[in-house]
């Protein structure tokens, strides 16, 4: 368009201007960025200040444990680590089933610091890794945005992402998880990609590939990159924006990125064998085809090349598509895995994969959680999007696609709000900077936006710069917006930004900064009581049980038991083996003797349950229990029926109304065994707000080993067969009970038929009665 044509001569002069003000603008940029870093870091320290420097909820404990292992035993031993403490008796090949980027990052930091004789414990490095990386993310966002729009917008975006709750939710101090570093890798990869698309230099695209490699090693979300970048290329092709720069950058990036990503043991051959990665290779082939056509056209420029190009490209696209489909049907390429598929078919997980559906962060997103995580950005980023599309260019196509895809995924899954947040910050930053640029254009106060706006004059501000000389102040005053409007706008938007920042602080502090292994309760006088039951229990386990004791608990607590209790667990938070989890769920859901046979089969030594009834802790096992039942039913439909755990009216309750099966299942008994505290009346369950229906029972096969101060964690020891405290029985009964337990033993195997048939025989009795009744009926 003409603007650029005019701009060309300007650019030289602008660069001159730029060089003169280099020191100043650099100073401002550096200052703002470092302040953003500081603010981001500080706003993530609530948990550390309120409690202590400690690793937060579940997955971080595994990451921490394996990081500690790597620091202790070295990288290669870590890659070959077979963890026999998890998934007993299967064990887990940690090196091959984990994204090592996180551990490597903090391990490297640890190594460097210790080389400098700075003896920082690896725990502290892990705790503060995410806040530190949030600063890097801010810088990456700044770079990305200034590639897309302008440095001013970049500064806005950096400040936004430094404190926005949607990102700090996963990166507060102590939440030592992949996302903490992955978002940085994501943004930086995108920045480098845009850089390489713009410059078309092999150097930048190789950098992109390297950064992509880091992302792959850090987080499973790399699939987002490897689908978004090809999408960008594809759309550019469709828009007829093919260029040598695009060709070079994508081909180089794809090949090197592919090879590098296959170096991660956990990823392995997926990039060429699974559908999630096929878009990239398809686009690669398509790009090759288009490049070839272009070349053909360049041979005879005056031929009917346009049709040739369109038709040829179209045919190529169709061909590639068909090939992919064919390969998928031949089974060369694995179809979409469930987790990804559930993004498209939103009802998929609920029916087929209860273990995915059971996780709360896989639920769809309400508007209020959008607003909670993004506040003012949520209603300003469309403005940025609008202007990006209005004056489109290669990289703005990218950011538009990024925004649209991310907003879709965020809508489907709360968890993916994380991938939406950066682009929202970018676009909102653009919106704010456009507006404040214009508002602040004439007056001299308030340097930063002016500066940024100056620096923006690198490109696409040519018209304005031309006009500036022959513009008289008074002419501006009457023709432009008046002083009042400007200042009013300014004040209003300052208020908005202020609201945003207080909201961010509030959200981070109240919603996202609880370690969840240390609970705090506040008395009426504001005094704080710390409920440290989890660590009490895990400490007890680590000190007072046998070194090789096997602890059975629901999978949520597997990582914590391994990390803090340092004991063997049956199932844990990487839920790779559904049937094993279902077996544990079945044990929890069946009655004591049946459970005992399962537990002996898995030779369990201790059972750990979480019971919040005494203090009204809602996240306890009884509330999760129905998921255990569902998952168990999925694998053992003959033995476990979800319906049995509800009342006749289909309610889920624990009081005397509750169903027989519920009142006698292991989980129930272990939760309420000898539970008589918890306020008035004694034995009142504060979480469910009910009096347990089955009380004062005895346990035959287990005994209470330890219960924490507030009853939150209860640990039971599984008795050895020789120490049942049964009452004396006559020989006859003993024999029957043994046969009984034998049939139960079979019950875990395939042969449940025995118990079934006995049920059938009992059913038989009523038929006789019914026979009579029918007779009377006729």
């Amino acid at each position: 368009m003409p603007a650029t044509a005019v701009a060309k001569p300007e650019n030289g002069r602008n660069k001159g201007i730029f060089h003169n003000t280099a020191g100043f603008s650099t100073l401002i940029t550096v200052t703002v960025l470092s302040l953003a870093w500081l603010a981001g870091f500080a706003s993530r320290l609530f948990a550390v200040i309120r409690f202590e420097s400690i690793i937060h909820e579940f997955d971080p404990w595994f990451n921490y444990r394996s990081t500690a292992y790597m620091v202790q035993h070295g990288f290669y031993n870590f890659l070959n680590w077979f963890d026999e403490r998890a998934w007993y008796p299967l064990g887990r090949i940690v090196g091959g089933t984990v994204y090592p980027g996180l551990m490597i990052t903090s391990g490297t930091i640890h190594w460097i610091l210790h080389a400098l004789n700075i003896p920082i414990h690896i725990r502290d490095i892990c705790v503060f890794l995410a806040p530190v990386f949030s600063g890097l993310t801010a810088i990456a966002t700044y770079l990305l945005t200034s590639e897309i729009w302008s440095r001013g917008a970049g500064l806005f975006a950096a400040c936004f992402i430094a404190i926005v709750p949607g990102y700090s939710s996963r990166s507060v101090a102590g939440s030592y998880d992949n996302e903490g570093i992955a978002i940085f890798a994501l943004q930086f990869t995108y920045y480098l990609w845009l850089k390489s698309v713009k410059s078309g230099s092999i150097f930048w695209s190789i950098c992109t590939a390297l950064s992509y490699f880091y992302m792959v090693s850090a987080w499973g979300g790399y699939v987002f990159i490897i689908n978004l970048i090809p999408l960008h290329v594809f759309v550019l092709l469709v828009m007829g924006r093919f260029s040598q720069r695009l060709f070079v950058s994508y081909t180089v990036f794809y090949i090197i990125g592919l090879l590098l990503s296959m170096q991660i043991p956990f990823v392995g051959f997926q990039p060429i064998r699974t559908s999630e990665h096929m878009a990239a290779s398809g686009v690669f082939a398509l790009l090759m085809a288009v490049g070839a056509l272009k070349y053909l056209h360049s041979l005879n420029p005056k031929g009917q090349w346009k049709q040739l190009l369109i038709v040829g490209g179209f045919l190529a696209a169709v061909a590639v598509f068909l090939v992919v489909v064919l390969l998928t049907y031949m089974g060369v390429i694995a179809p979409w895995s469930g987790r990804f598929y559930s993004l498209w078919d939103t009802a998929y997980a609920k029916i087929h994969i209860p273990i995915i559906a059971s996780v709360s962060e896989h639920q769809p997103t309400t508007w209020s959680s959008f607003f909670f995580d993004l506040h003012v950005l949520v209603c300003t980023f469309p403005v940025g999007l609008w202007y990006c599309i209005k004056n489109i260019n290669d990289e703005r196509v990218f950011v538009a696609l990024y925004a649209l895809s991310a907003v879709y995924f965020a809508g489907v899954m709360v968890r993916l709000m994380l991938t939406l947040t950066p682009v929202v910050c970018v676009l909102a930053g653009i919106a704010f900077s456009i507006l404040l640029d214009l508002v602040l254009r004439e007056d001299e106060m308030c340097p930063p936006p002016v500066e940024s706006e100056e620096s923006k004059s690198l490109y696409d501000k040519a018209g304005k710069l031309k006009k500036r000389p022959h513009e008289t102040p008074n002419g501006a005053s009457e023709a432009g917006l008046g002083m009042n409007v400007r200042s009013g706008t300014l004040i209003a938007f300052m208020i908005l930004l202020m609201l945003f920042s207080v909201h961010c602080t509030w959200a981070t502090s109240n919603a996202y900064s609880s370690p969840s292994i240390v609970l705090a309760s506040y008395g009426n006088d504001g005094s704080r009581r710390i409920l440290d039951d989890f660590r009490e229990a895990y400490g007890w386990l680590s000190q007072n049980t046998a070194e090789d004791a096997r602890i059975m608990s629901w999978w949520d607590y597997g990582y914590q038991i391994a990390g803090m209790g340092n004991r063997t667990t049956l199932v844990d938070n990487n839920t790779w083996n559904n049937s094993h989890i279902a077996l544990v769920g079945k044990a929890m859901a069946s009655n004591e003797s049946a459970a005992y046979s399962i537990m002996t089969a898995l030779d369990v030594d201790y059972v750990l349950v979480i019971f919040g009834g005494a203090i009204g802790y809602s996240g306890d096992d009884i509330n999760k229990f129905i998921w255990m039942v569902r998952i168990a039913e999925g694998e053992h439909p003959k033995d476990i029926h979800e319906a049995d755990y509800f009342t006749e009216r289909g309610e889920y309750r624990v009081d005397s109304e509750a169903s027989k099966t519920m009142l006698n299942c292991l989980m129930y008994k272990l939760s309420y065994y000898r539970y008589d505290s918890g306020g008035s009346p004694p034995g009142y369950d504060r979480t469910r707000g009910a009096l347990p229906g089955n009380r004062g029972f005895k346990l035959t096969y287990l005994e209470e080993a330890y219960t924490t101060e507030h009853w939150l964690v209860r640990i039971y020891r599984v008795k050895k067969p020789d120490e049942f405290n049964r009452p004396r029985l006559p020989v006859a009964k003993r024999t029957i009970s043994t046969t009984n337990s034998v049939s139960k033993k079979l019950a875990i195997g395939p042969g449940t038929t025995t118990s079934k048939r006995r049920k059938g025989l009992l059913k038989n009795k009523p038929t006789v009665v019914k026979g009579k009744k029918v007779a009377r009926l006729e």
């Binding site: 368009m1 603007a3 650029t4 650019n11 280099a22 020191g23 650099t26 409690f51 202590e52 420097s53 400690i54 004789n117 700075i118 003896p119 713009k198 410059s199 924006r241 004056n391 260019n393 290669d394 690198l458 490109y459 696409d460 240390v518 710390i530 440290d532 660590r535 009490e536 895990y538 400490g539 007890w540 680590s542 000190q543 007072n544 803090m564 000898r674 539970y675 008589d676 505290s677 005994e703 209470e704 080993a705 330890y706 219960t707 924490t708 101060e709 009853w711 020891r717």
Partner: protein
């Protein structure tokens, strides 16, 4: 062995040296030291013989069984029935309990410590002997009163060895009814103190009498040397049976006015083991349930201790209180969980003290005077103590003096912030430690004070270089060719 005795020597000469001021004495001093060194170094052949003219005129013995330790203090009226004055006499410990002995000491009537040194006697190889050197020789026919104090660990056996949560803990003490001594004892009385009323059984040898919480034996006239007769008491003892199985005490000296102390402590309840289940319900019913269990204990820190922390591998142990008293800081430590018989816990306790209270210097000469071990809980018994002292980087000429024999381990180096060649670390061990061992050690070393400024200078230099680099980078243009912004609208 050699190095142990060496320490002993040093400490003694140290004591004298501090009293002696005239440099002329130095030589003699040295000879004395040397001789003593020889004497002790060949302790195996160091033989005393039991002089027949020493008699114990009267022994008044108190066996304190109220805690987990057995503290025997005997007030000995010593009589010299011979012709020549007597410089020293022997104290013996019977073979059965010599391995439990943690501490032995002797005071004279004015409460001054007398020097006690180990020795042996021909013909009595099973028993252990100590020679007590009297301050001034005991002339013929005269008497002197000496109080000897011995502390035994692990001498009380829980019996039964396993109890349920609600039961009381019964322990059994087996000892010697008579004073075990190499000399004729003319008359002796024994007073066994068990604070509780619940005495199951005790050996009855007339004359004896029993008030609540105490049993008197004797007086028994004219008991021959080395007479043994079993004395056994089986009684209720719910006092905490806590053993510190390992403690590592780390003292880090900084010349910027601070001494950091960190103790890694492993505690085990070595009383009667818990039998059967633990029931939180019963445990919450009243405070008296689980009588043998330990809910918390008090640790006394120096009055000037500040920023105390109490944590374990899983982070802070949030259940603890700190009271600052005028002569000490009292910590009320609650382990994460109550300790029943056989249960273990471990924790790290750390605090800072200002260095001016413990670190004296003249010029470049420094003297560190601190406790080998500090109070952990009352009537503590420590199986293994390791004390490490980290001195500032560059300190040389290190001389260690300890009040009692310890095993000194090889020195090592410790690297921390901004260290270049590492800080010297002095390490020594001692096993079977009790409260009576809370005594000061002395550590002299030389530290050139200019070295204090090494680390600040390092930081300054580094920052200077950094800024220099930044300036150079910003000012100069390293790009090979001018990048032009091509931009497509």
């Amino acid at each position: 062995m050699a190095c142990t005795s060496a320490n002993v020597v040093k400490c003694h000469c140290q004591k004298k040296w501090s009293s002696v001021t005239m440099p002329a004495m130095a030589k003699i001093q040295f000879c004395f030291t040397f001789i003593l060194f020889i004497a002790i170094n060949c302790a195996s052949v160091n033989v005393d013989n039991i002089s027949s003219d020493v008699k114990f005129k009267n022994v008044d013995r108190t066996i304190d069984l109220s805690s987990q330790l057995v503290k025997i203090s005997q007030k000995i009226t010593l009589e010299n029935s011979g012709k020549s004055p007597v410089k020293s006499f022997l104290v013996a410990v019977e073979a059965s309990s010599k391995n439990n002995l943690a501490y032995i000491g002797a005071k004279d009537s004015s409460g001054k410590d007398l020097r006690v040194s180990e020795t042996t006697v021909k013909g009595h190889d099973s028993a252990k002997f100590w020679r007590v050197d009297l301050k001034d020789a005991l002339n013929a026919g005269s008497t002197v009163v000496v109080t000897s104090e011995t502390v035994f660990t692990k001498a009380l056996q829980p019996y039964p060895t396993a109890i349920t949560q609600q039961e009381d803990q019964l322990v059994k003490y087996t000892g010697n009814l008579y004073v075990y001594s190499p000399y004729q004892v003319t008359s002796q009385k024994t007073n066994v103190v068990v604070v509780t009323k619940g005495i199951e059984s005790f050996s009855k040898v007339k004359p004896f009498s029993q008030q609540d919480g105490a049993i008197q034996y004797g007086p028994y006239p004219n008991v021959a040397p080395f007479t043994e007769k079993e004395l056994s008491v089986h009684y209720k003892n719910n006092s905490p049976f806590l053993t510190v199985t390992r403690i590592e005490r780390l003292i880090e000296v900084s010349h910027w006015g601070n001494i950091a102390i960190e103790e890694l402590i492993e505690v085990e309840h070595t009383g009667a083991k818990l039998k059967g289940p633990f029931s939180r319900y019963d445990y919450q019913q009243d405070l008296h349930s689980g009588p043998a269990s330990v809910r918390s204990y008090k640790t006394l820190l120096p009055a000037s201790a500040s920023d105390v922390y109490y944590r374990d591998t899983n982070g802070n142990i949030s259940t603890s209180n700190m009271k600052v008293k005028k002569d000490s800081v009292e910590l009320d430590l609650r382990p994460r969980y109550p300790l029943f018989g056989g249960w273990k816990t471990h924790y790290t306790l750390g605090y800072n003290v200002p260095s001016y209270e413990y670190l004296y210097h003249s010029g470049n000469e420094y003297l560190l005077k601190m406790r080998v071990i500090d109070h952990i809980f009352d009537d503590m018994q420590v199986d293994e103590l390791t004390t490490k002292i980290i001195l500032p980087e560059g300190s040389v000429g290190i001389k260690l003096n300890v009040p009692y024999p310890v095993t000194r381990l090889a020195d090592s180096l410790h690297y921390t912030y901004l260290d270049t060649k590492g800080r010297p670390v002095i390490t020594f061990k001692k096993s079977n430690v009790v409260e009576n061992h809370i005594q000061d050690f002395q550590l002299r070393y030389t530290f050139p004070r200019l070295l204090m400024f090494q680390e600040p200078l390092l930081v300054v230099g580094f920052l200077y270089a950094l800024f220099l680099l930044v300036i150079i980078y910003v000012r100069l243009d390293f790009s090979i060719h001018k990048a032009e912004h091509q931009h497509k609208d």
